[in-house]
Amino acid sequence: MVQFYLDAERLPAFVAHLMAQKTVIAPHAKGQKSFTFETVAEPDQVVLDYPRVMQSIRKFFLPPKEELLTFDLTENSYETTEVEPIDAIFLGVHSYDVAAVGRLDYNFSVGSPEKNYLTRRQGAVFVGVSFVPDSYHFSGSVNIRPEDPTGCDIFLTKLFEGYVLEVHTPTGEELIKGFDMPAHDAGRPATGHFQQHIYVPQTRLSEIMEQSYDNDVWAETAEQCVGCGTCNLVCPTCYCFNVDEAVDVTVTKGHRERHWDGCMLRKFSEVAGGEVFRESLAGRQRHRIFRKFKYISDTTGQPWCVGCGRCTAACPAHISIVGIVNRLISDHAQAVVAPI
């Protein structure tokens, strides 16, 4: 592993070096306390010390709204909308968000591979950066450390006023060519401790969920939940979508578009005629949590929650995903002990 030291003062120069090669998409400050991934225009606007961005980089590969085809109503004909690869350097991505892209890759590759997503994904280069866990992060509980470089071409680990820069792939080697940095051979530090933990190894979560189908926590959580779907909206591994028609003002042309949808919304499971197959908020909460810790995990062996903490941080009712999971663990432990 080749290591260099990138002084924070030289970060804009490094960003400019990357921009000379490809489009760079990186975190920017937004408002007073928020951060968002945007295409870099000014190298000195890039922020690498941030707790989490509002939306993960999912938004580039699976846009909130996207045109699937355009139609002509007078001709009753259509053309599919072709998409282009994003083909950019994603700079300053946290390990859990890189992991989340891997989860989405699975969902859009398995069974029938999906053209739009997989085309957009082409050419993406990942330059990860370590983070300091705040009171919402718990990715350590799903085996994603703050300084985990998995999936990245280059990884930056914060050390003093700068970063230990590690090159992990030939693509990464190409990227830094011609950018002068001192070599670093003192290893890299762990960048912080998690304040939130799930209290069993992730490999046991599916089994605990299995026993928790009728747990009281679903109904209790539903008492607080307002069913707004914000948890779905901010989740980096949520990928469910709906498709709608949009007709322009001339009523001769229009397009079919898909947009993000969420299983916490009542209408999500509604069919024509009005039947709603997941009517109770308790059932919808359970479905959300089982989607993250059981259903897909039973096939892949990995939790589909990456521990970013966004759903908890954004919930208007302060529902904590870690709180729910730990409650299930504690009830499960008591249930196991009880018969003795």
Binding site: L68, L73, N242, R256, F268, I296
Partner: protein, 283 residues
């Protein structure tokens, strides 16, 4: 290793591009249901199994899943039976023959006809559940020698709501079909059974060791039909059920049709009942 190395190397097809297919026949079945015969371009066959579905779309209106009502033994076109229940179906009822619709599919897992071969076939259809079951019924009738008895139980709200009445008349007249029908509310002139569909089951004379059953109807029906079939002595292994959910994309991506971990558009809509026992949200 870069994440991209795990991506598939094949060039994926566009899953959401419909084929434009022509409606060649429209027939009103009841005040709420309409029959459509549809032909794919260049005489292409749909190539479906009984119990599968297609996504039908009209530009500017929307796209929704519909069960295929014709048997795959019937070549050259396929048929749908559509209830007016939303925006798309409302527009569909006002179309004329010659109009082209967007079709994607067939999708899902239909009836595994191999599992029914050599057996007595029991069909339990409630209301619009007859639409998909008609595909299986006509399949059995066209391959009569491959199957044992054909027993059909059909329940409808009233006499006016009965679907495919001309075909029902044929089934009633066919000595090789045991057709039983009941209506929830019998009106004047109705001389047949009155009562919900489960009232037909106790009177059936079944060979319990050699019967395979397929059930389709409104959501409320399944639990009660299941109880009736089980108290009749049918084993769980002999029961198949076709379930309705919101199969929006048809290709296991959009998430709407999930029953617990199962995508109805992939694993269903026709499930073997033993597989449904682990899916608490199913029935």
């Amino acid at each position: 290793m870069n994440l991209n190395e795990f991506l598939p190397t094949i060039e994926p097809e566009n899953l959401y591009a419909p084929v434009m297919a022509e409606i060649t026949e429209i027939k009103r079945l009841t005040s709420m249901e309409v029959f459509y015969r549809i032909e794919l371009p260049d005489g292409a066959e749909l190539g479906h199994q009984p119990g599968q579905f297609v996504e039908v779309s009209i530009f500017g209106v929307g796209e929704a899943p519909f069960s295929i009502s014709s048997s795959p033994t019937h070549k050259g076109s396929f048929e749908l039976g559509v209830r007016k229940a939303g925006m798309l179906t409302d527009v569909m009822t006002r179309l004329q023959p010659g109009t082209k619709l967007g079709i994607r599919g067939p999708f899902g897992t239909g009836v595994d006809v191999e599992k029914f071969k050599g057996k007595d076939v029991l069909i339990v259809a409630g209301g619009i559940g007859l639409v998909p079951m008609r595909s299986m019924i006509n399949y059995v009738l066209d391959r009569r020698e491959d199957f044992g008895r054909l027993i059909i139980c059909y329940g409808s709200r009233s006499e006016q709501d009965l679907l495919f009445t001309d075909e029902i008349a044929k089934w009633e007249a066919d000595p090789k079909v045991e057709f039983h029908v009941t209506v929830d509310q019998g009106g004047e002139g109705w001389k047949g059974n009155v009562g919900v569909i489960t009232t037909l089951v106790p009177g059936l004379d079944l060979d319990l060791t050699n019967t395979a059953c397929c059930v389709c109807g409104p959501p409320i029906m399944y639990r009660f039909v299941l109880m009736a079939l089980k108290s009749k002595g049918l084993s769980d292994e002999s029961i198949y059920m076709s379930l309705e959910r919101r199969m929006k994309c048809g290709v296991g991506k959009c998430g709407h049709c999930q029953i617990n971990s199962s995508y109805v558009c992939q694993d269903g809509p026709v499930y073997h009942y033993p597989d449904l026992k682990n899916l608490q949200e199913a029935l």
